[in-house]
Structure formats: structure tokens, C-alpha cells
Amino acid sequence: MALKAADPRPAKPGAASIPKPPKPEDQELARKLDEQAATEGDLAERELRVANLRAELSAFERRYLHFLGSRYAELDECKAQLAEQFARQHPENERAQQAAREARARADETASAAGEQSTQEPRAFEATPEMKRLYRDVAKRIHPDLTSDRDDRAKRQRLMAEANQAYEQGDEAQLVKILNEYECSPESVKGEGAGAELVRVIRRLSQARGRLAEIEAELQQLLRSDLYQLHERVRDAEKDGRDVLREMSAKVDEQIAQARGRLESPDADSR
């Protein structure tokens, strides 16, 4: 390899100075900041995906319980009453007594799981593009895993939980408020010094990657859940113009009517 000879002439006074090469820590910091920006974007996207799924399933659960919860509770109540009626008629049948006790426990359990039925039909979750943009901004700006400061992290965790709730409820104004609250806070001011900043960025990256793994686990849990399977079945049927929740409700209503009939005339049918 040929070596280029150095210019032996002295530098002229007033001539433009040669720019200093960037320090290695500055170069590394720049690279890490790029990496952090990319990870922040990825994290925000995934947070949005899991928040969407959680909100969709939560809304679906409310709809499901609105239609089916109270009906199943009523059906189980009828079944418990039928079992108790049979047990009263056959006091010598110990198994019937046991079955009645179990049916009563099941009815109480179902009533407790079904909760109180709201009078209004809950709406399905649907986020507007503006909501999604806002949520992404919030996640990028205040995600708790993007800070290495303990106090700042605690504050971000609180705000992120509020943001998730606001997103689920479709509360756009609240999302803007949360973002503004953080932007104006002293924690949003970055520290100085390349070395210290580099350490902070590396830690944030590590936290962000950890959170990405957690989001994946959370997504998998939601996707594997019965709630998701049922949600998908109902959604597929809706595409074919069927309202499965109403169909299921009608079926349970029939069963309730049948049970009530048997309660009123117990000798009509032994089943």
C-alpha cells in the first residue's frame, strides 16, 4: 500500500481549521441513538398492537357478558332450583342431595362471574387513526422502559397505565393531556455529557428489548385465550352476516324457558 506524504508546509494564519474527527464515544452515541429511535418505534408499534388487542377483547368480553353472562346465570339458577326440587322429592337419595348442593354452588359461581348486567349494550372497540397516532406518540415518548431514572420510570409507569385506560375507552383528549403533562415535566430534559448519555441509552435499549419480549409473551397469552378464540368465531360469523351472540342468547333463553316449565310442573318430565 502506498503512503501519502504529509504536507510539510505550516498552516496559514486565518485559513479554515480542519474539522476535528468525532470522538469514538460520540460516534457510538450517535449509533446507539439511531438504534434507540428504531427500537422506540418498534416498541410503540407493538405496544399499540397489544393495547388494541386487549381493548378489543375487553370490549368483546363486556358484550359477551351483556348477552350471555346473565342468561347463563339464570339458567344455572333454574338448574339449581330443579336439582333442589328433585332432592326435596327424594330425601333418601343422597346423590341427589349432593347434586343439589353442587348445582347451587355452580349457580352462585356463574352469577358471580357474570356480574351485574348493564342495561345498555356495550360498544365494540374501534380505535380511530388519530387515536392510534396519539398512542404511538405516547408510547414513544413516555414508555417506562425508555428511561434509566428510577423516579422518572415510576412516573412513566403511572402515565402509561393511564394512557392504556384512555386508549381502551377511546378518550382522545386524555391521551393528549397525558402527553402534554410529560412533555412539560423536568424529567423530559436530557442530561449532558456523551459518556453518561451513552450509558443511559444502552440501558434504555436493554430495557426496551426486555419489554419487547414481555409484549410478545402478553400477545401470545391473549391469542391463546378462549376469549380470543370466541371473539374470532363471532367475528368470522359476523362477516357472513350472522350475529352469533344473539343466536346463542336465543338458545339459552329457550333452555331457561324449558327449565322454568319443568319447575312449574315438575311431573311433566323426569328429565
Binding site: 397489544v50 386487549r54 377483547l57 375487553s58 368480553e61 359477551y64 357478558l65 350471555l68 353472562g69 347463563y72 339458567l75 333454574c78 338448574k79 330443579l82 328433585f86 327424594h90 337419595n93 346423590r95 341427589a96 349432593q98 347434586a99 353442587e102 348445582a103 359461581e109 356463574t110 362471574a113 357474570a114 392504556n164 414481555e214 409473551a217 402478553e218 397469552q221 391473549l222 385465550s225 378462549d226 376469549l227 378464540q229 370466541l230 368465531r233 352469533v244 346463542m248 338458545k251 339459552v252 333452555q255 324449558q258 327449565a259 319443568r262 318430565d269 323426569s270 328429565r271
Partner: protein
């Protein structure tokens, strides 16, 4: 770590959601599930929906005993007896009996030493062996309250019915003594007067008293018991009904009602054809039995038989309702089989479902559902909204 909110979302309504998903999956009160692949030589389903199957290990060309869950459709564990091989060449006999709660299982298998083997499936533990035998057990049965266990065997010679008292010990502890509480030997059974021709014609199912059966064939000769097969405890644990096999390829079976715990004879009933299954009604007053493809019921006090208006080869009575689950491998004008329920008060059939090759039936302990399993690994779940 998965956030609490997500975990709560998945869990809080899990039971109701699972119920909806299940209701959505079926068109009737029956649900069909694939439990295992291949063909099993012996299958028994528990009241909790677990299946014990002697199933072939495809690659090794051998058999082993595995437990499956009807809901999950995956093997739960392989039954192993310390010191014995857990695999054996195909074709060895096997007999299984689940306890009424599904916690315990007693198994006999030609691949193990000739003893009965007790397992605690909750503790996932082999409890021990008891009741060594010379004749392989033809049938094993638990009483409903889990206080007694019976093992019947056929094949002449030392065929017998043996009864054990089940000791109430803690989980994971042996429940059986090595020696039975009582035993009815074939020799003792042969000494009963019921096998004499005049006695048989008096208590015959078809009521014929002229020394010939329904086909006009003569049964003037004495019958000779050859062994014992299926047995069933009455729910009140007062009696054990046991099928007595009579010598001769075409000989009809008899049904002996034995007193618990002495195994002394209470009554004998001569059936027509081979008895393929029997079950007591919940009130311990009647026995539903299937012989020669026909379902009948027998009143235990009077030994009065009544043919039921349907055919069946397997039957299982509901634990506390006058309902019986039946399987018949053929329908009139059709070679197809069916599962169905019978209201025993009105003799009305309901909830029929096409099914083939069913080998075992079982109600859940609370009677809210029933299981039927086939040798091919299919399980039919009966889950009515109201029962």
C-alpha cells in the same frame, strides 16, 4: 412478566367464555372429540373424563398403557409399575376399573405380573399390587361409595368373584389388603340348586316352564357355570350383580345377585343370550341389562324381568335420576350404531346420536355429563343443558 390487567382479562370470565365456546361448537347435546390415535385393545373412561387405554406404540410394534384426557386429547402419562416393563408385545389381555371419583385406577395387564395394580392418579403414584390371580380378571368393578372393589374371572378352574374392602387412607397410600374380604369360587357357585333343570325353567327370562326355551330347544340338562364376567355394585352397596357364564358355546348367561360383603347368593336370574352389560338404577331397586342385543330390566326384590322396547349392548344408569345411557351397534333397517338416553319412567328415548364402536360408557360423578369411548380413540361427550 405479563401485566395483571391482561391476566385478569383472560381469567375473570374464563369459565363462562369456555362454556360459550363449547356451546358454539356443537349442534346437539353431543360433542365428539379425538382422544388418541390408533386402535386400543382395551379402553375405560373415568367419571372425570380421563381415558385409560391399552394402545399400540406405533414404532416399536408393542403396547403400553396410557392415560388421556378427553378434553385435552393428549397423553397425560404412561402407567408404569416399578420393576415391571411398561411395554409388551401386542395382544396381551387388560382390564381397568376407575374409582367413582376418578382418583384411583385398578389395572391388570398381561404385560405385568399376574396381580391387580392400584394407582393414585391425583398423586401420580403406583400404590401397590394385590390380589394375585391364576385366571386373568374378566371384569373389575368399584362400588359407588368406593367402599368395595370386586374382581371377577372366568375360564373355569380357579374362576371366582373376589371382594375387597377399600381402606380409607390418605392420598398416595395403598387402599387394598393383599387378601380379599370374601370370595365366591366357581366350585361354590356350581353347588347352587339354580343350575338344576327344574329351577332354571322356573326363573327363566322368557317365563317358559315347559322345559324348552323360546326357540323350542330343550334345556332339560343341568347347566354348569364356567366363570364370572361383568359385575356391578348396587349404589347402596348392599348387593353385587354378577354375570355367570354357563358352559357351552351357545349357553345363555345367568345373573347372580350376591350379598355384600359376604358374597352369599341372594338370587339368580337366567337370561337369554350373553349379557354384554348391566347397571343398577340409582335407587338400587332395578338392574338394567343388555343381553343378545336387547335391553331389559330386572326388579331386584322380585326378580321380575321386563324387556325394554329398544335394543342395546351397553348401558349406564344416571347416578341420581331415572335415566339410562345406552349404546346399540345397530338400528332397525340400518347397520349404523347409536347412543341414546332412556327415560326409565316413561320408557321414552331421547337425545339419540349416531355412533360406532363404543366400548365403554360412564356418567360424571354429579350426573351433569356422560362419556362414551371407542377403541379408535373417539370420545362422545353428552352435555345436556338441563338434566
Amino acid at each position: 412478566m405479563i401485566p395483571v390487567a391482561t391476566q385478569a382479562l383472560v381469567m375473570r370470565s374464563a369459565a363462562l367464555v369456555a362454556r360459550g365456546l363449547r356451546d358454539l361448537s356443537r349442534e346437539s347435546n353431543w360433542l365428539v372429540k379425538k382422544v388418541f390415535a390408533g386402535r386400543a385393545g382395551q379402553v375405560a373412561v373415568s367419571p372425570a373424563g380421563q381415558v385409560c387405554a391399552l394402545s399400540p406404540l406405533v414404532r416399536q410394534g408393542s403396547e403400553s398403557i396410557a392415560l388421556y384426557d378427553v378434553e385435552l386429547g393428549v397423553p397425560l402419562l404412561a402407567l408404569a409399575v416399578p420393576g415391571d416393563s411398561s411395554v409388551a408385545a401386542p395382544g396381551k389381555p387388560a382390564a381397568f376399573a376407575w374409582s367413582p371419583t376418578g382418583q384411583h385406577l385398578v389395572a391388570a395387564w398381561g404385560g405385568w405380573l399376574p396381580e391387580l395394580h392400584a394407582f393414585d392418579l391425583h398423586a401420580k403414584k403406583f400404590l401397590g399390587a394385590f390380589g394375585d390371580y391364576a385366571n386373568f380378571p374378566s371384569h373389575l368393578a368399584w362400588s359407588d361409595e368406593e367402599n368395595y372393589f370386586a374382581a371377577a374371572s372366568s375360564g373355569a378352574g380357579s374362576a371366582s368373584v373376589r371382594l375387597w374392602a377399600v381402606s380409607r387412607r390418605g392420598s398416595g397410600e395403598m387402599l387394598f389388603a393383599a387378601e380379599p374380604l370374601s370370595e365366591l369360587t366357581l366350585e361354590a357357585c356350581r353347588a347352587w340348586p339354580e343350575w338344576r333343570p327344574e329351577q332354571r325353567s322356573d326363573s327363566r327370562e322368557d317365563g317358559a316352564a315347559d322345559g324348552s326355551d323360546a326357540d323350542g330347544a330343550d334345556f332339560a340338562d343341568s347347566a354348569e357355570p364356567a366363570g364370572f364376567r361383568r359385575s356391578a355394585f348396587s349404589p347402596d352397596e348392599g348387593s353385587l350383580a354378577c354375570v355367570v357364564e354357563i358352559e357351552g358355546e351357545w349357553a345363555d348367561d345367568s345373573l347372580a345377585i350376591l350379598e355384600i360383603p359376604s358374597l352369599r347368593k341372594q338370587n339368580v336370574f337366567h337370561a337369554q343370550g350373553h349379557i354384554t352389560d348391566l347397571a343398577w338404577t340409582y335407587d338400587s331397586r332395578q338392574i338394567i341389562f343388555c343381553s343378545a342385543g336387547q335391553a331389559s330390566r330386572l326388579t331386584a326384590d322380585t326378580m321380575e324381568p321386563e324387556p325394554l322396547p329398544f335394543g342395546a349392548e351397553l348401558c349406564a344408569c344416571h347416578p341420581h335420576l331415572p335415566i339410562c345411557l345406552c349404546f346399540s351397534s345397530w338400528l332397525k333397517n340400518s347397520a349404523k350404531g347409536r347412543l341414546f338416553l332412556v327415560d326409565l319412567n316413561r320408557l321414552k328415548i331421547f337425545d339419540e346420536y349416531a355412533a360406532e364402536g363404543v366400548v365403554d360408557l360412564r356418567w360424571s360423578l354429579d350426573g351433569s355429563k356422560a362419556y362414551a369411548v371407542t377403541s379408535d380413540g373417539l370420545a362422545y361427550l353428552y352435555e345436556p343443558p338441563l338434566l
